[in-house]
């Protein structure tokens, strides 16, 4: 019993079916928004939409489908470190490209 308890604790949070379905519906809705904006308003709004809606969708998958919301801070820190490194690479590359 003690062992199963320990496992349950270690295995962390059980995300309810309802939450998962709500997240899925949100992801579909955000996809629809992205498609609508890019077809109806063209370039002016499509780039800002791309830069906000797409990371939001990825965030929903990371936090709820991948249980990151319920993980220990170390896991969150790891993801922030990797994404931070990637953003730094992109930033430095563009800093280089724009002064050529």
């Amino acid at each position: 019993m003690g062992q199963t308890m320990e496992h349950a604790e270690e295995h962390g949070h059980v995300v309810p079916y309802r939450t998962l379905i709500v997240i899925w519906l949100l992801l579909l809705l955000l996809t629809a928004v992205l498609v609508y904006v890019s077809t109806a308003y063209h370039a002016a709004l499509s780039v800002p939409a791309l830069l906000t809606v797409t990371p939001l969708k990825a965030g929903l998958v990371f936090f709820y489908f991948m249980h990151l919301k319920y993980e220990k801070p170390f896991f969150k820190g790891l993801v922030i470190l990797v994404l931070g490194a990637l953003i730094l690479f992109i930033g430095l590359t563009f800093a280089d490209l724009s002064y050529r």
Binding site: H11, P16, V79
Partner: protein, 206 residues
């Protein structure tokens, strides 16, 4: 002789360690695809019009259909994990099976999409591709590399899901020991996240 007690070794499983290992692997995957996203952004900044024209020729409908397929497959995997945590083995197997079907649907769509491009003469050293301006050549090169590498991940994910389904069937993955299922799920969700970025970059940015 028979009175010697047989030591019972408790099977030690490091769930956090297994999950951390998976997240470390996913970190390398993020940087792998991140490199391609960086390359795309840098060349898009240099050839904005050519990238715009290139994107217009892609089949947006297939891109969106594949997005819906992958998002739904991600939901199925997430439900499979919750079902296993609740001890509903049957639902876990149904959801894993559904995810594999979704993965194959994705790849079939990708096949038709690529074949349409190839018939137009858009492939490495293809006649139509060589006549295009430099920026469009780079766009299609990145298109094939990014969707191709992602497609390989879908294929690998489908294989891993099939093995996982077999583990569940043979009771190798149980309610109290489902790290393998959880980690395959994490991999599949990352494949979904990569596609979430590919859709606007390749199909919608036109």
């Amino acid at each position: 002789m028979s009175s010697v007690p047989v030591p019972v070794h408790p099977i030690h499983k490091d769930y956090q360690g297994a999950k951390l290992g998976m997240w470390l692997f996913l970190s390398t995957e993020i940087l792998l695809f991140g490199g391609l996203f960086l390359l795309y952004s840098a060349y898009r900044a240099r050839y904005p019009l050519d990238f715009h024209t290139g994107g217009q020729h892609l089949d947006t409908f297939i891109g969106i259909a594949n997005t819906v397929i992958l998002l739904t497959s991600s939901l199925a995997v997430a439900i499979a994990v919750t079902a296993m945590q609740k001890g509903n083995r049957r639902l876990t197997m149904i959801c894993l099976g559904a995810t594999i079907v979704f993965a194959l649907m994705f790849l079939v769509n990708k096949y038709f999409e690529w074949m349409a491009e190839i018939h137009r003469g858009i492939y490495p050293n293809g006649p139509a591709l060589l006549k295009l301006p430099d920026g469009e050549k780079i766009f299609y090169g990145l298109y094939y590399c990014m969707t191709g590498l992602h497609g390989l991940h879908v294929l690998a994910g489908a294989a891993a899901l099939a093995i996982t389904l077999d583990f569940v069937r043979r009771h190798k993955i149980t309610r109290s020991d489902f790290s393998k299922l959880e980690n395959v799920g994490l991999y599949w969700h990352l494949v979904d996240v990569v596609w979430i970025f590919l859709l606007p970059l390749l199909y919608l940015a036109a």
